[in-house]
Symmetry: C2
Subunit: 446 residues, 2 copies
C-alpha cells in the first residue's frame, strides 16, 4: 500500500484523483507512516493532498519533526482547522513536542475555548491522568430519557473520542453515574438515565499517576475511565487506546531502569550520542566504584591466591554465577510486584522459597562444577570441594539478596527496578568472594 | 468494600438481604478477589449467594483452583447455567485450566453448540489468535438497513462481548466490512449497511501469534479485531481487554528471558520450588560452564598476576563494567526492536552509535578510574594506565557485542531476548580479560 502511494506521488504530473482514492482507502496510521520517508518539501505537498476529512487524524499520528514542518508551512486558517479537528489530548501531545514559537502561533490560531482547554491540560503534573485525558466526552443528565440521550449522542457524538460510555453529571458537574451505549440500546426510549445508570463506577483523579490509571484499566477491563477533580467534578476521560501506549512506555522505563540506565522517552535512533552516553554514565560510574569492594576482597586474598592459583581462576565463574542467580530472582520479583502477584507482605514467604530454590540450584551446579574442576584441574579434592561449597552458598546468597532488595525498596517506597541485576550483582559478588576466601582459609588451612 | 463483604459473610445468621444488596453494588472483579481469601467451604457458600445475573461474570475472574472447587460442588444444571452464561473465550480459558475429569463433566453439561465451539477453540495452536478470540459478535449483512441493524443488536447484543463494532459478512461468512455503532447512530435508519460500512478494515488470521495481534491493536488503536480463517471467513473477534492481558504476558516473558530464566506463565507464589529451580537451572549451568573460558584466560595469566598482583585486584571491576555496559545496550536494543523503533536493517547505524557512546562512557570512566588507582594503589603510572586503557576498550567491546548479538539474533530469526545481559556479560567478560592481559604484557613488558 505504502509503495503504491509513493509511486503515485512520484508520477509527473501527479494523478490527484487516483491518489485521493487510494488515500481514502488507506488506514490513517499507515498514511502517517509514509511521511517518515519523505523529504521536507514532499511532506508538505503530501499533507495538502490528504482528503480534508482525514487530515487531522493523520496529523495526530505523524512524528513531531514532520508535524512542525507542516505547521510552519500552513496558513493560520489551515492550522486552526487542523488543531480544532484534533482530539484535545492529541492536540496537547502535539503542542507538548513543539518549540515555543510554534506553540505560540498554534495557540493564537485556535478558538478561545480550545486555547483555554489546552492550557489547562498542559498544567497537570507530568505523567498524571490529567495529561493523558481528553475533555471530549458525552455528558448526560439524570433526568434525560434514553431517547433524548440518543439525540445528544447523534448531535455531538461525532466529535467525541468515544461515545460508548456516557457520563451522567449533576448540574454542578459532579459525576453521579455512567451508562453504556449497550445499556441505552437495550433500554426503552422512555426510560430515564437516572434509573438505568450504573452508580458504582470506577473513576480516578486528575493527579493520579498514569501507572495507577493503567492498573485500573487492566484490573477492570475498561474501555474508558472518568477523571474527576478534587471536588469530584468530571473534567475528562481516558480511553483505552491511550492506555496501551502508557503500558508500553512504563514497560520500556522498567526495562531501562533494570539495565542501569537513566530512563528516557526519546526513541533510540533519535537520541544524540552524547545524551545516550549521559543516560548510561552515572550508573556505570557508581557500579564501577562499588566494584572497589570486590577488588579489596581480592587484594586481601593475595596470600591465598599465590599459594593456590586455581582459586583465582575460579573467581570469574563464581562472580558470573552470583550475578546470574541474583538477576533471575530480582527480575521475577520486580515483575511479580509490578503485576500485583507479589506484595511486600509476602517477604518471608518469598525469602523462604528463594532459599530453597537457591539450595536446589546451588547443589546441582556444585555437583557439575566439582566433577569438572576435579577432573580437569589436577584432581585436588579439597580445592574442588572449597569451590563447590562456595558455589552453593553463592547461589543462596544471590537469590536471597535478589528477592530482599526489591521488596525492601518497595517497602521504603523506592522504585524496586533500581534494585535490579547490576546493583544486586555487585552485592552478590562481594558476599560470594568474601565467603570464598573465608572457607578457603579454613578448609585449605592457608 | 471487601472488608464489609467479609463482615456480612461472617455474621451468624447471614443477613442475605444486606449481603445481596452490597454485592449488587460491588464490581464483579472486586467480588472475585474476595474468593481468594476464603476457605473451601466458604468459597462454595459465597458463590451460591451471588446474584444470578453476576454469577458467570464473577466466575470468569475467579482463580482456577477456586473455579474447580465451585464446579465440583455445583449440580450439572448449575454448571450448565454458568458455562453457557460465560463468554466463550472465558469458558475456554477456564476449561484449559481444569483437570481432565472436570473438563469432561463440564463439556457434558453444556449444549451441543457450545461444546462444539469450545472444542474448536481448544484446538488452535498455543498463543495463537484462535485461543484468545471469542466467537460471539454481532454479524450483519450488506443489505440490512441501519434500522434493522439496531434491531439485530437489541435482540442478540446482550450476549455479545462487544457490540460497538459490527461485522458485515456475505452469505458464505466471508468478511466484507465493518461498521461501528457510532457510524450506525450517525446514519439514517433507511441507509443500507453496504453503503456505510468500512471495507478497508484491519483483520488477522486464526493462526497468527498473539504478539502479532497485540501489535495490530497498538498500531491502529483498535477496540476489537476480526479474525478470519484461511478462506477469509469470519470465525471470531479479539477484544481489547484480552489484548491488555496479552501485552502483560508477553512483557513478563521478555523480562524472564532477559534474566536467563525459562519463561513460565504460572504466578511466582503458585509455582512449586522444584519447578522454579528447574526454570533457572539450565541457563545457570550453561553460563557457569561458559565462564570456564574466562577462567582459562585468567589461568594463562598466572605469570602476569604473580608479578603485578594489582592487575588481579582490578579483574572484578573490569568484569562488572563489561557486564553492565553490555547489559545497558542490549536492553535498549531488544526493547527498541520489540516496540518497532529499531530494525535489523539499522545494524550499521546502531553499531556506529554504540561505538561512539562506548568511547565517551569508556573515556570518562577511565579518567575516574585512573585517578583512583594511581592515588590509592602506589602511584604506579603504567599499571594505572594499563587498567584505564583496558576500561575504554572493554566498554566499547561490551557495547558493540550488546548491540550486535540481539540484532543478529533477530536476523537469523532467534528470539533477541535470549541475547540479553547474561550471555553478553559472559562474552564481554572474556573479550575484556583477553585484551587486559594482552596489553598488560605489552605495556608492562612482563
Amino acid at each position: 500500500m505504502i509503495e503504491k502511494i509513493f509511486e503515485l506521488m512520484n508520477e509527473q504530473p501527479v494523478n490527484h484523483r487516483n491518489l485521493y482514492q487510494l488515500l481514502m482507502d488507506t488506514n490513517t496510521v499507515d498514511i502517517a507512516d509514509v511521511f517518515e520517508h519523505l523529504s521536507r518539501e514532499k511532506v508538505v505537498q503530501m499533507f495538502r493532498l490528504l482528503p480534508k476529512s482525514m487530515a487531522a487524524d493523520v496529523f495526530s499520528y505523524i512524528e513531531p519533526e514532520n508535524q512542525q514542518i507542516i505547521v510552519e508551512a500552513l496558513t493560520d486558517i489551515e492550522v486552526n482547522k487542523i488543531v480544532e479537528d484534533l482530539f484535545v489530548d492529541d492536540a496537547v501531545d502535539f503542542i507538548g513536542e513543539m518549540p515555543a514559537n510554534v506553540v505560540k502561533r498554534v495557540l493564537q490560531s485556535v478558538s478561545v475555548d480550545t486555547r483555554k482547554t489546552i492550557n489547562q491540560l498542559l498544567q497537570y503534573p507530568e505523567d498524571s491522568a490529567g495529561t493523558i485525558m481528553t475533555t471530549e466526552f458525552v455528558g448526560l443528565k439524570e433526568y434525560n430519557t434514553v431517547g433524548r440521550a440518543f439525540e445528544i449522542i447523534r448531535n455531538i457524538g461525532v466529535d467525541k473520542e468515544t461515545i460508548y460510555t456516557c457520563y451522567v453529571m449533576r448540574r454542578d458537574r459532579l459525576l453521579v453515574g455512567v451508562v453504556s451505549v449497550k445499556t441505552l440500546l437495550l433500554s426503552d426510549p422512555e426510560d430515564t438515565i437516572g434509573d438505568i445508570m450504573d452508580t458504582n463506577m470506577v473513576f480516578a483523579h486528575t493527579t493520579d499517576d498514569q501507572e495507577v490509571i493503567a492498573d485500573l484499566f487492566k484490573r477492570y477491563g475498561l474501555l474508558s475511565l472518568p477523571i474527576v477533580d478534587k471536588e469530584g467534578r468530571l473534567v475528562g476521560i481516558v480511553t483505552v487506546d491511550d492506555i496501551v501506549q502508557v503500558i508500553e512506555e512504563e514497560t520500556t522505563e522498567d526495562f531501562e531502569k533494570m539495565a542501569a540506565l537513566t530512563p528516557s522517552e526519546d526513541p533510540y535512533l533519535k537520541t544524540s550520542v552524547v545524551k545516550l552516553a549521559k543516560n548510561r554514565f552515572t550508573w556505570l560510574l557508581l557500579l564501577m566504584l562499588s566494584a572497589a569492594i570486590t577488588g579489596a576482597i581480592l587484594e586481601s586474598a593475595e596470600e591465598i591466591i599465590s599459594s593456590v592459583y586455581l582459586l583465582a581462576v575460579m573467581v570469574p565463574m563464581i562472580m558470573d554465577t552470583a550475578g546470574n542467580a541474583g538477576a533471575q530472582t530480582s527480575a521475577l520479583i520486580i515483575r511479580g510486584m509490578a503485576v500485583g502477584e507479589i506484595h511486600a507482605r509476602d517477604v518471608i514467604r518469598v525469602l523462604w522459597r528463594e532459599i530453597r530454590v537457591g539450595t536446589l540450584c546451588g547443589c546441582a551446579l556444585a555437583l557439575v562444577n566439582f566433577a569438572r574442576v576435579f577432573l580437569m584441574n589436577g584432581r585436588d579434592f579439597w580445592v574442588s570441594f572449597t569451590i563447590s561449597v562456595t558455589l552453593i552458598v553463592t547461589v543462596i546468597i544471590a537469590k536471597s539478596v535478589g528477592c530482599l532488595l526489591p521488596i525492601l525498596a518497595k517497602k521504603i517506597k523506592i522504585d524496586p527496578t533500581v534494585m535490579a541485576a547490576p546493583l544486586i550483582t555487585t552485592i552478590a559478588d562481594a558476599s560470594a568472594l568474601l565467603f570464598y576466601f573465608y572457607i578457603a582459609r579454613i578448609i585449605l588451612k592457608i
